[in-house]
């Protein structure tokens, strides 16, 4: 035994090897009205001691470049002009002095009403030459809310207080709210509330009323439609009512929720929360968040309608209502760029550094995940052990058959198998698991040249080598760990950074729908 275990004197004498390395990541948000890009640096540092298995994490995220806000070039009502969008993006990447090959991670998020299949397909095609650089995701309201909440800093803020923090990202058409408690997302909800739902000019002449808000307006006695002229006071009433009702949803308490729904039919897009958690603070990001932080309340139609919409008035109404509420109001770290910053800076994680893979196979993008949960085994007499083996066999058979039904068996690789659970992973079990897994995978996916396994616990290298032994040269095994994924997630495995650090982006489609 070294005389001073715990103080090994030869370690860490200002050792440069323990210092981190930086990688560059980009985020691109293509929305209904605006397109923006950010470039950030992420610092990867070793977070395990020199006496442990290597483990790295992202220690710092630094914004390097934020593009101006561009109007999204459209060819139809919400049809993206992919060529012109890509021209903007390429131009901005040049301005940010990001060369081809510099990016180690990046996310393109298509948001709002432009998040359609056609648009996504067009964009994916257009970035063919840089496809390896980016993760593409079409954000639904829940993902947008989550990313905006992260970009606005609501998750970090919630770690500093006891109660929950809600960030409401309000743009032109929707208000996407994400609730965080102690750093974790506990719910998302979307309202049909936005700055451009009602468009009008300086004279009060209504140009447009979004269909999504018409039900609510009618039910609340506001008769308003394109072509008519309204008074400033009426618009003001609407903005205050919308703000008040949205906030009341969060603080009215669960008993009042039924009541709330009766009065606000149509105001919520998608599903309501099963239960509204106790909220302590709120913040607002998005275009309305920026107006709240930067602009005085408009006093008349002319001051309000500078962009021919109700944005400035909605912002001041919301500010007033929030301040009058019992909750604390805090400024979001980011407003208009919250979503893109959330996407570009907050979406990546680093897997365990003991892995089994061939770097030449990476990156792999948009791989669907299927989960295999291995619960703690019953231990005991021989027949119990035999029963356990039968159970594992059945579980594996089940999982792989499901995979066969869900995924393209010709794809290389077809999917990622996520292994989670409380089962003790000793050597004997690992061999058995590798044995059965190899057999079932080869049965269902005989022509797939690559098998991808994602483990929750730190066993990837051992499991990977056990699998590879059995697969020999027929099948290449990629096994990574310390990443938690769920059914329905998609993952992206980036190219290894300085050796064996694998940047991983997990895209979750399933979001919590209630307070826990």
């Amino acid at each position: 035994m070294a005389a001073r275990i715990g103080y090994p004197v030869w370690l860490g004498m200002g050792d440069a090897k323990m210092d981190g390395s930086w990688i560059t990541s980009a985020g691109i948000d293509i929305g209904t009205s605006t397109t923006k890009l950010i470039v950030s640096r992420l610092k990867l540092v070793r977070t395990s001691s020199a006496l442990s298995l290597p483990r790295y994490e992202i220690a710092e995220r630094e914004l390097m470049y934020a593009s101006p806000i561009h109007a999204t070039p459209l060819t139809g009502a919400d049809q993206i002009d992919a060529d012109r969008v890509w021209a903007i993006v390429s131009g901005e990447l040049d301005k940010a002095e990001v060369g081809k090959g510099d990016l180690k991670s990046g996310a393109v998020i298509i948001t709002g009403e432009t998040a359609t299949k056609t648009n996504a397909r067009a964009i994916v095609h257009r970035l063919a030459d840089r496809a390896g650089d980016f993760v593409v995701a079409a954000a639904g309201a829940d993902l947008e809310a989550y990313l905006a909440g992260k970009g606005a800093g609501a998750d970090r803020r919630s770690l500093r207080i006891r109660g929950a923090v809600v960030n409401i990202d309000i743009g032109g058409g929707t208000a996407n709210a994400a609730i965080f408690r102690r750093g974790k997302l506990i719910g998302t909800i979307t309202f049909h509330i936005g700055g451009r739902l009602i468009q009008l000019d300086e004279t009060g002449m209504i140009r447009y009323v979004a269909p999504s808000i018409r039900t609510w307006l009618g039910a609340n006695g506001y008769r308003i439609e394109a072509g008519i002229v309204v008074a400033f006071s009426m618009i003001k009433d609407i903005c205050y009512a919308l703000s008040r009702e949205m906030l009341r949803y969060f603080i009215g308490g669960n008993v009042a929720l039924t009541d709330w729904h009766r009065n606000n039919n149509g105001l919520i897009a998608g599903q309501s929360l099963e239960q509204v958690p106790e909220i302590e603070e709120w913040m607002v990001s998005g275009g309305i968040g920026k107006l709240i932080q930067e602009r005085a309340a408009p006093a008349n139609l002319a001051e309000m309608a500078i962009h021919h919409d109700i944005g400035p008035l909605l912002a001041s109404a919301l500010r007033d209502c929030m301040q009058a509420s019992s909750l604390r109001v805090v400024d979001a770290d980011e407003t208009v760029r919250a979503t893109v910053i959330g996407a570009g800076m907050q979406s990546m994680e680093i897997g365990g550094a003991t892995v089994h893979l061939d770097p030449k196979l990476l990156p792999i993008r948009n791989l669907p995940v299927l989960k295999l949960e291995l619960s703690a085994a019953n231990e005991g007499r021989e027949e119990v052990v035999r029963l356990e083996a039968v159970r594992l066999e059945a579980e594996l058979e089940d999982t792989l058959r499901t995979a066969f039904n869900l995924f393209d068996p010709e794809a290389v690789p077809p999917f990622a198998l996520a292994i989670t659970g409380t089962r003790t992973m000793n050597y004997a079990f690992l061999q058995h698991l590798a044995d059965r897994l190899e057999s079932r995978f080869t049965h269902y996916f005989p022509r797939s040249g690559i098998m991808v396994v994602v483990c929750e616990r730190d066993i990837a290298q051992a499991l990977g080598q056990a699998l590879q032994r059995r697969c020999e040269k027929r099948l290449k095994v990629i096994c990574i760990d310390q990443i938690r994924v769920e059914h329905g997630d998609y993952i992206d495995l980036g190219e290894p950074v300085s050796g064996m650090m694998i940047p991983v982006v997990v895209k979750t489609l399933a979001f919590p729908n209630g307070a826990r």
């Binding site: 030869w10 989550y146 997302l185 990546m348 004997a428 616990r457 051992a462 056990a466 979001f511």
Partner: protein, 292 residues
């Protein structure tokens, strides 16, 4: 980009994803959807669900206390009687200490040694008291042991694996069955050949140097029981050295410590030790000079 994954296939895959998304209202009802995406989850703890009993009678924030206790293995939130610890807490501490003491004076299970075909040699340690006082004697194999090694072992192996009880015989019993075969698999995967393994009773880390002189391996791996702690009395270390010889300094050795089911995972450690051996042979060095 993976060359075998053509653009069209990639596009299709994105589309499949989107397809699911747009038709995904049911997904949000999935009761298993508690986990949250894109978040750095750090080390995934094995049994975060273990319920902690709250001993502080009227904490200012009950929920916060559970969060604190879960964030560290340190003995916190333990409360007090007067200024002294509660009885159960004090006894728990003493139990952990008792386990640690017992493992120092234990013996490695012979069945485990024979299961892995390890023959036994001894150092000049004599007895446990002397072993503790005279680490220098735990660094030298007895004359009889030297002879046995010469007779039984292949000389100049690429990799020589040695196992020793060190300060915790328990550590070997608990971890060898996972670490050792995993290490052998890993060596095989790298195409490396291991020499004849054996067990050293009463060994210290620097016994590597004496064995290095005797067998002249390229890399020597010593799996040895660590000084027991209160968290685990069954923790093992792996010391690795490229061409250990008399006079090798500590900084030439590479160490992986805290190997036990609650620390560095044994099976993974075994696999990773193989990687380290591979790198040492490639770079012809070890310790602080090794580029990881």
């Amino acid at each position: 980009m993976n060359p075998s994954l053509e653009l069209e296939q990639f596009v299709d895959r994105v589309m499949v994803e989107l397809e699911r998304k747009f038709g995904s209202d049911t997904l949000t009802d999935d009761p298993k959807s508690e986990s949250v995406s894109m978040e750095v989850k750090g080390a995934v703890s094995a049994n975060a669900s273990t319920l902690t009993t709250i001993k502080v009678p009227k904490p200012k924030w009950q929920e916060g206390l559970a969060e604190l206790i879960e964030s560290t293995p340190a003995r916190i939130g333990v409360w007090r009687t007067g200024t002294r610890p509660l009885t159960k807490e004090m006894l728990k501490f003493r139990c952990d200490h008792a386990a640690a003491i017992d493992s120092i004076y234990g013996e490695v299970n012979e069945q485990i040694l024979s299961r892995f075909d390890l023959f036994t040699v001894e150092t000049r340690y004599g007895n446990t008291e002397n072993y503790l006082k005279r680490p220098d004697m735990g660094r030298i194999v007895t004359a009889a042991g030297e002879e046995l090694i010469r007779v039984k072992c292949r000389s100049h192996p690429q990799v020589q694996v040695v196992v020793s009880d060190g300060l915790s015989a328990n550590a070997i019993d608990a971890n060898l069955p996972d670490v050792y075969p995993s290490l052998l698999d890993s060596l095989e995967a790298y195409g490396l050949r291991a020499g004849t393994p054996f067990f050293v009773r009463g060994g210290r880390v620097a016994v590597m140097d004496h064995i290095g002189e005797l067998l002249e391996p390229d890399v020597l791996v010593l799996l040895i029981g660590e000084r027991p702690g209160l968290v685990s009395s069954r923790s093992m270390s792996a010391y690795l050295c490229y061409r250990p010889r008399k006079g090798t300094v500590e900084s030439d050795r590479t160490v992986i410590s805290n190997i036990h089911p609650g620390g560095t995972p044994p099976v993974e450690a075994g696999a990773y030790i193989g990687t380290l051996v591979h790198k040492m042979l490639e770079q012809k060095t070890s310790g602080i000079h090794l580029d990881l």
